[in-house]
């Protein structure tokens, strides 16, 4: 959105293609009209930023080719393949800025496919977009700032979380403090959420190892180990997540080069500080090129637009450009702090864990295939086991599958590959295909 605004201001014409029905992305998501609530209630401390962004959008809406509810499901050279209310269409472009965002990163736990178990991001979407709680006594498991933020937001909305089960170690969080001081306001907010949860007597278990989630009567019971002891916590829903990972499939389809990023144990599209990818006409902004959060995404959007303008021979305001670059550098340092505080660790997974929930492939099936076929690369694994071949295209299992493959073979995590994106990037709605007239 910030990118679009910057391009329009420079006199360029642009299209804004958004999968969501209303502008705002995930963080500043707007609920449907009938579920409108005060901004303070929806976005908490970020209400002012949310309102500013929504206002910017309403100013540019009439001067931009805006296409809500529209999925970019593929690309062919300089054409995007779209599916939306207007049916399936194509859109030619000179330059494209990808702001495809991120989604939760998951460590599968036996029972994570049960109804009532959601990703942390999902729990947040349900609250923000639908004014619903996934449960009144949810158990939140995983790690990362979102774990505490979602629990806090649920408390504010009237839930009483049964527990927070954090797989990270508290000492790691202390050790990361120097880096986290690069964004003191954000760090302070994190500390505030934690304090608020303590004040509400939400039990927090750190260094926990989740074992399983079971349905017992109406309850969802989470079993985890901590210091050798086994604990059971019952609730009426589960939210789980281990930080975020970028949505990079479209960048892949557009031919962008990727590099392995050790801190996040994930492959990221290679970009310069302005957001230029390795493909000449493709730019990437926001979490899509590495998780840096919503504030940085606004800066990155504007910078990517500056990059487009520079490459088209326009001059861009240098002071502004430098300020934005400094902002992103701070966000980058903060991210490295978060990676230390809440490391993504995939423990030894139980054999009966469903790794790929689309295709119901278990960890032991994957392990058996790896050893009998001597698999060392993730797409081989996918072809031979169907792990990652389902409708989500490995968005949920890909990260854990990489870890299982690396652990089984002894191959470095950086060298086991990643699940290739395929078009259509997401399933299409059949009714949007135009029927050809009979000859």
């Amino acid at each position: 959105m910030r990118a679009a605004e910057t391009l329009l201001r420079a006199g360029l014409s642009a299209a804004l293609i958004d999968e969501a029905p209303l502008a705002g992305g995930q963080i500043y998501r707007q609920p449907p009209e009938s579920l409108r609530r005060p901004a303070r209630q929806l976005y908490g401390s970020e209400a002012r930023k949310a309102l500013a962004l929504h206002e910017s959008f309403s100013r540019l809406r009439t001067s931009i080719d805006y296409r809500p509810e529209t999925l970019v499901w593929g690309a062919r050279e300089k054409r995007l393949l779209l599916s939306g209310p207007a049916g399936n269409t194509e859109l030619a472009f000179d330059k494209v800025i990808l702001a495809t965002g991120a989604m939760d990163r998951i460590v599968p736990v036996p029972g994570w496919t049960l109804p009532g178990v959601y990703s942390l991001g999902g729990a947040q979407v349900v609250l923000k977009g639908q004014a619903c709680l996934i449960g009144k006594r949810p158990v939140f498991i995983g790690t990362g700032p979102l774990l505490y933020l979602v629990a806090y937001q649920y408390c504010k909305a009237g839930a009483e979380p049964a527990a927070i089960v954090d797989t990270s170690d508290f000492t790691a969080q202390i050790g990361a403090l120097p880096r986290l001081l690069s964004q003191p306001a954000t760090l302070l907010r994190g500390i505030w959420y934690n304090a608020a949860l303590v004040a509400r007597r939400v039990p927090v278990f750190r260094s926990a190892k989740p074992q399983k989630i079971e349905i017992r009567g109406r309850q969802l019971v989470v079993t985890f180990k901590r210091n050798g002891k086994s604990f059971e916590i019952g609730g009426d829903a589960v939210g789980m997540g281990w930080g975020l990972k970028p949505e990079t499939q479209l960048a892949e389809i557009l031919g962008c080069a990727f590099s392995f990023h050790a801190g996040s144990r994930w492959h990221l599209p290679r970009c310069d500080a302005m957001g230029r990818s390795s493909t000449e006409h493709v730019y990437i902004a926001g979490d899509a090129s590495g998780i840096r959060g919503a504030d940085a995404a606004e800066a990155a959007g504007e910078l990517a637009a500056f990059a487009v303008l520079e490459d088209l021979g326009h001059t861009v305001p240098q002071t502004r450009r430098q300020r934005l670059l400094a902002h992103l550098a701070r966000a980058e340092r903060f991210r490295s702090g978060l990676e230390r505080a809440f490391p993504y660790q995939v423990p030894e997974l139980a054999g009966d864990t469903v790794l790929c929930r689309c295709e119901n492939v278990t960890v032991e099936e994957v392990r058996a295939a790896i050893s009998s076929w001597q698999i060392s690369e993730l797409n081989q694994l996918k072809a031979l086991t169907r792990c990652g071949m389902g409708r989500c295209q490995g968005r949920l299992c890909g990260s854990a599958a990489m870890e299982v493959l690396a652990a089984e073979t002894g191959v470095e995590i950086s060298d086991v590959g990643s699940i290739r994106g395929q078009i259509p990037l997401k399933p299409l709605i059949g009714a949007r295909f135009q029927r050809k007239a009979a000859p």
Binding site: P32, S34, W112, P115, G122, C132, L133, G158, G390, R395
Partner: protein, 98 residues
């Protein structure tokens, strides 16, 4: 086996809509997604293709594709990103057994 999940925090004057779920008339509210309507009704969304397990989505943001439902006319829709419309008929059973 399953009970309603999802608790609304703004029970309000939103317009009521009726949909059919497995032939049963179910009340939803204007602005609900199909996912919300199904979760508030009886707490599950679909039967998995490869086992008898019930699923109810996971990501709620159109990424995991674990909440696709079939309408009586054969059309398939993703529950978490589809707003409920009056008269929608969802057929969750029988599962497509493979």
């Amino acid at each position: 086996m399953y009970s309603p999940r999802f608790h609304s925090i703004s029970e309000n004057d939103r317009q009521k809509l009726t949909l059919l779920v497995d032939g049963v008339s179910v009340e939803a509210r204007e602005g609900d997604t199909l996912l919300t309507a199904l979760m508030r009704h009886d707490g599950w969304v679909r039967t998995h293709e490869f086992d008898a397990g019930s699923r109810a989505g996971f990501c709620a943001m159109g990424a995991c594709q674990d909440c696709w439902v079939t309408l009586a006319d054969g059309q398939r829709l993703r529950a978490c990103t589809t707003p409920v419309r009056s008269g929608m008929a969802i057929v969750r059973k029988p599962a497509i057994n493979v």
